[in-house]
C-alpha cells in the first residue's frame, strides 16, 4: 500500500514538473473567464459540456502525452525492475488522471459559485467525474498502447472522438433526437456526458444514471484487464 502512495505522490509531482497541472489549470481559468461573460442560465447550460470536455477528451490527451513522453524517457522500463507490481503502477497513473479531472471540475464549480452563485450536488458530481475519469483513463491507455508515438495517438483520438464524442455533443445541442439516447449510451463519452449533466442540472433519470455508472465501471474493468494490463509491460520493454 505504501508503495502505491509513493507512486501516486511521484505521479502528482511530475504533473507539476512536466507542467501538465499548470496547463490544465490555465484551461480551467479560460472557462472562468467565459463564465464572467455569460448569464446565469447560459453558464448553467454550458457547465456540463465544459466538465465533460475535461473528463472525456482532455484526460485522454494528457494521459497519452505523458505515456509517450515516459516511454521515450525509458522510465517505465526502470519502474518495471523495482519491487512494485504493474497493477500498482497502473493504479497510480489512473488515480493521477482522475485527480486531474476532479481538479478541473472543482475549479469550474468554485468559479460558478462565486460568479453566479450556482450550486449543485457536489458529492454526486465528484462521484460521477471519478467514474467517468477512470473509464477515460482506461481509454487513454488503450489508445496510447496502440499507437507508436504521440502524433499517431492523436490520430487515434480523432477517430475515437469522431465515433463517440461528436455524436454526444450533437445530442447535447439537440441535433440528435432524445429517443435515441439509450443507443448513444454505448459511447463512453455519452455515458460520461449524461452523468455529468444529471449531476449539474439535478435532473436524474434513475435508470439511465445507474446504467451509465455500471457501464463505465464495467468498461474500465474490461479495458484494464484485457487491453491495458497485458500490453503495458511489453510496450514499456520494447521501448
Amino acid at each position: 500500500m505504501s508503495s502505491l502512495i509513493k507512486l501516486i505522490a511521484g505521479e502528482l509531482n511530475r504533473l507539476v514538473k512536466y507542467k501538465i497541472l499548470p496547463v490544465s489549470l490555465v484551461t480551467a481559468i479560460i472557462w472562468i473567464v467565459i463564465f464572467l461573460f455569460l448569464s446565469e442560465n447560459e453558464a448553467r447550460e454550458i457547465t456540463p459540456l465544459l466538465i465533460f470536455v475535461d473528463v472525456a477528451a482532455m484526460s485522454i490527451l494528457l494521459l497519452g502525452a505523458s505515456h509517450h513522453l515516459e516511454k521515450q524517457e525509458g522510465t517505465i522500463r526502470t519502474m518495471m525492475v523495482m519491487p512494485i507490481s504493474m497493477g500498482q503502477i497502473l493504479t497510480a497513473k489512473t488515480i493521477a488522471s482522475m485527480i486531474l479531472a476532479i481538479e478541473s471540475a472543482v475549479v469550474t464549480s468554485v468559479a460558478l459559485f462565486f460568479i453566479h452563485g450556482i450550486t449543485f450536488n457536489y458529492i454526486v458530481l465528484l462521484l460521477f467525474v471519478a467514474i467517468a475519469g477512470a473509464a477515460h483513463a482506461a481509454i487513454g491507455f488503450v489508445l496510447s498502447l496502440r499507437s507508436r508515438d504521440f502524433t499517431s495517438m492523436l490520430g487515434l483520438l480523432m477517430g475515437y472522438m469522431f465515433l463517440f464524442t461528436i455524436p454526444s455533443i450533437l445530442f447535447s445541442f439537440g441535433i440528435i433526437d432524445a429517443k435515441y439516447e439509450w443507443l448513444l449510451m454505448v459511447s463512453p463519452s455519452h455515458s460520461a456526458s449524461h452523468l455529468i449533466t444529471s449531476a449539474v442540472t439535478g435532473n436524474f433519470e434513475i435508470g439511465m444514471v445507474i446504467a451509465g455508472c455500471l457501464y463505465l465501471t464495467f468498461l474500465s474493468a474490461v479495458l484494464f484487464k484485457f487491453e491495458v494490463y497485458p500490453r503495458f509491460k511489453d510496450n514499456a520493454v520494447r521501448g
Binding site: 508503495s3 509513493k6 511521484g10 509531482n13 511530475r14 514538473k17 512536466y18 515516459e70 524517457e73 525509458g74 522510465t75 522500463r77 526502470t78 518495471m80 525492475v81 523495482m82 519491487p83 512494485i84 507490481s85 509491460k233 511489453d234 520493454v237 521501448g239
Partner: protein, 286 residues
Amino acid sequence: MGVAFSVRDLHFRYPSSREDTIKGISFDVLEGEIFGLLGPSGAGKSTTQKILTKLLEDYKGDIEYFGKNLKSMDSSFYEEIGVGFEVPVHFSKLTALENMRFFSRFYRKTANIQELMERVGLWEYRDVKVAEFSKGMKVRLNFVRALLNNPRVLFLDEVTNGLDPKNARIIKDMIAEYRAKGGTVFLTTHLMNDVEQLCDRVAFCVSGKLIEISTPRDLKLKYGKREVKVEYRENGTIASAVFPLDGIGFNEEFHSLLKTGKVETIHSGETSLEEIFIIVTGVEMK
C-alpha cells in the same frame, strides 16, 4: 561458491519476429563473479539481460536464480537485483537527485546516494535537470540507479558505452569493488577492454548462440599465439625476430641474439581478445 543464475537451453522469440533471437543457450553465472556477455551488435545480449531480469517472460528453457525457478519469483526479486539499462531511464524534467531519491524510495535497503553520486562525479550536478545532462552523465546516472538498492546481483548493459577513459575507469573500479565485496555481475558489452579489465569469465555471443565460455586468460592460452618478438639494432637499422614461447629457454638463436645483438625491445606476443573473438566465432566484432 553458489550459482546465481543457471540457464539451460534458453530460446526466445520476439512476437514480431519470424525466427528465434536467442537460439538455445546455456550458461551459469557464479555467485561473486563478473560474467561478461560479449558480442557484436544484434547478437542478443540485451535480450538475454531482459530475460534474466524478468522483463521478457515468454522464453523457453529453464532459468534458476539461486536455485529457484525464475518464473516463480515475485516482485521481491527486484529487491535483490540492480539493473543498468543500455539507454537512459530518467525523468528528464526532474533533477538527478530527485530521480535517484524517487527510485530509491521503493527499496527496503538502500545505498548512500550521495556517496555513489560523488564517486561518479555527479554530486555537484545533483540539482541539475537530467534533460541538461550530457550523454556520458546520463550513463553514469544509470549506473548509480542500478546500485541504489545495494543489489546482490548487478546487471549492466553496455555500462561504459559513451564514457571518456577517465570516467570509464571510475565505473570499472566501482564494479571491481562491488565484486570484491561479494557482489555478482552480469555484464553485456561489445568492448574488449571491459572484458579484459573486468570479467572473470566471458561468453562469446553471436546471432543468439554462445560459442565459447571461458576465462579471458584461458582463451588467450588456448587461442593466443605464444611468442616473443625481439627488436634489435643491426647495421644501424632496426630488425626484428619472432620466437615461439614454448622451449624458449633452450632456443639457441634467441639466446645468441640476447648476447650479441643490441636489443631494443622484447614483447611477448599476446593475441588480443578481439583477434581471438574472430578466430573463435569467425565473425568480426564491428
